[in-house]
Amino acid sequence: MLWKRHIPILIVAVIGSLTLFGWFIDEPNIKAFVDDDATQWFDILASFAIFLGGFNLLKMQMQKVIRKKKGWQYSLFAIGGFILAIIAGFFYKGNPDVAWGTHVTADGTLFKWIFTYMFAPLGATMFALLAFFVASASYRAFRIRNFEATLLLVAGIIIMIGRVPLGSSISSWFIMYLLVLIGGVVINSVLKNKQYTAIFVSVGIIIVTSAGSSMGWPLDQPGIFYLPHLQEWIYMNPNVAGTRSIMMGIGLGIFSTSIRYILGIEKSYIGE
């Protein structure tokens, strides 16, 4: 009971309190612990723990190969890649003029070759998949179900188009004409009267055309309809407000969880 319960709780309480309250204490040893040592202890632990992970991975893949489970041939790639990385990191430099350690970034080494021609393209490919997945997710999920969803959709479209050069090439007058047409569609669906719709659209077009002609059709005026200005406003105002409030909520959540750990209230890490 002492080892499984009380000692882990004591360790968490002492180290947690020291790290938390150490920030308020102007004493070199405590400052060094809080600023450097605590994180470095963790990094050292994590670095040695990689052996556990590596052996677990090798064990799982080798079991698949030995037992000839479904798809065992792919496990050969996993094991082969593992061994190749070990060889390139610890046994074979490829460029004899470079010292061990700096060989991981020096030109002409096997490790650098693996990074440039295997690791980098594979990572870029996986990241590039996001472009396709964003398109299919947006297509499937962005539906005008209610007012909030509509607002989200409109804001998303403004940001997507306003952020790229295409958006800065679209005149605010085009947006105003578009709004007049959308207004006409809305009025038609609400009032169901073609006459009112026609009057609204005609008057709208006349007003926009007169205003545009008188101002000389500037691309970015009126600014409220220019997409890059709109997207900048959305980023700097409603977005910042929402982000700040979510950040505060998350910060409080992190604080609360951490305090529960330090005070020994949350004991799920020992299975309670």
């Binding site: 470095q40 990094d43 970034t105 396709f132 299919s136 980023y235 700097m236 910042v240 950040m247």
Partner: protein, 281 residues
């Protein structure tokens, strides 16, 4: 009319592989047939440019590279542009990396810009201090004592033997920080542990998705502007007058965004038609 509405409803629930194909074409075709859409700098990009331009000649600038191969298309062009701007204005550039991948990419960037384009001398005009593990502990270490953290640079040379490291002992000895960040650790850690306590000015370049998280710091003045993803990189290339990968990707990104918006509109038109039909019946 019914035929058209039926077609729209059918298209609004199309197999996602057709969407993938259209997106692929929307990205590939503008790369082969560029349209040359004009690029205009946003206020946040202009702020980064103005801040760097206002630095006195010969300033000590810390550039921190925390990105990897997956985010290279977004961040690498802005790092190249920033380095070009810094070297053009004859600043001393110190490069650190909070991510291990960042060291490879920083090394490539410095070789291309500092060594090949500007013919500068390593150790006198620029230095790659390299990656150190520890996440925010590295930032704290740079703030308190950079020489304790970096005893050698990325090439194995002792820091005491590098001429431009003379007089550089802590973060406050730098005049400016630029963080090219794709996640954690990155911009936010630099703001929290380095910039806020010391008031050294800072700008940043991040992936588009991270802009939301960093924008509150820009709005409060803790970060002087932000380069937002590849569009931000393209805008900065325009400002310094050297087009690069960022600019070449803008046509493709513009068309891809437009295609996604059209798909969303199509999906919603189909959804509204279906909703009206189900109300009728």
């Amino acid at each position: 009319m019914k035929y058209i509405t039926d077609l729209i409803i059918k298209m609004s629930s199309v197999d996602r592989r057709w969407i993938f194909l259209v997106i692929a074409l929307a990205v590939i075709l503008p790369l082969f047939f560029p349209m040359g859409l004009p690029i205009r700098a946003t206020p946040t990009t202009q702020q980064v440019y103005d801040t760097i331009d206002a630095l006195p000649h010969g300033s000590k600038v810390l550039v921190s590279c925390e990105y990897g191969p997956s985010t290279k298309p977004e961040i690498h062009p802005m790092v190249l542009s920033i380095l070009r701007h810094l070297f053009k204005n004859k600043h001393k550039v110190y490069v650190t990396c909070l991510w291990p991948d960042g060291q490879f990419l920083a090394s490539d960037a410095l070789n291309l810009v500092a060594r090949d384009e500007y013919g500068l001398t390593y150790g006198e005009d620029y230095v790659l201090l390299g990656f150190r593990p520890g996440n925010e502990a590295v930032v704290k270490g740079i703030v308190s004592n950079i020489r304790k953290l970096y005893t050698i640079d990325a090439k194995g040379t002792k820091v005491t033997e590098i001429p431009m490291m003379e007089g550089v002992n802590r973060f406050e000895d730098f005049d400016f920080l630029f963080s090219a960040s794709a996640g954690y650790p990155g911009t936010i850690e630099w703001v929290q542990y380095a910039v806020d306590p010391t008031n050294v000015p800072m700008s940043t370049g991040t992936t588009s998705i991270q802009v939301n998280e960093v924008m509150p710091y820009v709005a409060s003045g803790q970060v002087q502007g932000i380069l937002a993803g590849m569009p931000g990189a393209a805008e900065y290339e325009k400002l310094i007058g050297v087009p690069g990968i960022g600019t070449s990707g803008m046509d493709a990104q513009s068309i891809a965004h437009l295609v996604i918006v059209l798909f969303i509109v199509l999906g919603n038109v189909g959804y509204l038609i279906e909703r009206n039909r189900s109300k009728k019946y």
